[in-house]
Symmetry: C2
Subunit: 205 residues, 2 copies
Amino acid sequence: MNVERGLLIVLSGPSGVGKGTVRKALFSEENNNLYYSISATTRKPREGEVDGIDYLFKEREDFENMIENNKLLEWAEYVGNYYGTPVDYVEKCLSEGKDVFLEIEVQGALQVKKAFSEGLFIFLAPPSLSELKSRIVNRGTETEDLINNRMRVAKEEIELMDAYDYVVENDKVENACSRIRSIITAEHCRRDRISARYKKMLEVE
Amino acid sequence: MNVERGLLIVLSGPSGVGKGTVRKALFSEENNNLYYSISATTRKPREGEVDGIDYLFKEREDFENMIENNKLLEWAEYVGNYYGTPVDYVEKCLSEGKDVFLEIEVQGALQVKKAFSEGLFIFLAPPSLSELKSRIVNRGTETEDLINNRMRVAKEEIELMDAYDYVVENDKVENACSRIRSIITAEHCRRDRISARYKKMLEVE
């Protein structure tokens, strides 16, 4: 039987906007039907982060080997660390008709878009820049220089919004999740994805 | 203040698929935020249908006057009756930022698409052709000739699915409504509709 190919859903947005929180909330829902592709990174684990669950934590040398062997769908060096998406798991899920969910940085999302233009690119946006700054400050893990650097990068990233299909405001986590669920449902109803199935119905009956 | 223009949502599909039932269920929900544009028709009211609520019931002569005076966004003659959408209410709502919902026949939807290609065109589809036939038969208002005619037209209409943006299967009314709500939410998140608002945020702060 021919399986309808799954959707590749890419959630991205400025650092500090709450991508990880939104992703966790989406995956904690019952019957979410999403398959999460864990990113690899060379950044040090933050408190509470677990290897193989939050990220695949890698040494720089191991990560650079994956780059050389084309084992990454996308990768980027960001504020001094590598981040990337191992390709094999993504391809396997899509061909089995599963929806794969990536939560990645903006530069990585733009790379994925080049390889997978049929993906669903969702930009998670802060309600305002001042709100974004207070979220980064409240995280308490960054120095003042790093905070200013992140804000500068965030402004540049918002300028890159045009490469995305959807913009979801993260005013509240549950609102953002609800919008993302709606986007996924809507995309599964897109005529270009499913009209062939209906045309077939006409031949059969 | 500049108001973001509302969405024009067009629900259509073969006769008998359940457009009216789905529309009523959508509008019975709390906080649905939809504005319904009532169709005008020359068809006789079915039992329980109320003039000004279900349709604007018109004499043929009155309807033909509206056609001549360009007072209809679309109109069609369908199984011997005229159906059409008065244009003034639709334009007023859209310019006030309201989402307008049309529930119309397939030929009418194709006319609206020519005038409003930025509209949201949703095709309500039966789970199967046999299911569609049993719904038309069970309605109990049609002769056998009319039933066969409707089935022939329905097959032609399913072939016209390619003009639509979305296909929603009406397996159950509540499922169809949930998909349609998701589509509307998703369309409000489309980057091309809202990125200007975010770019403005960058200028201000």
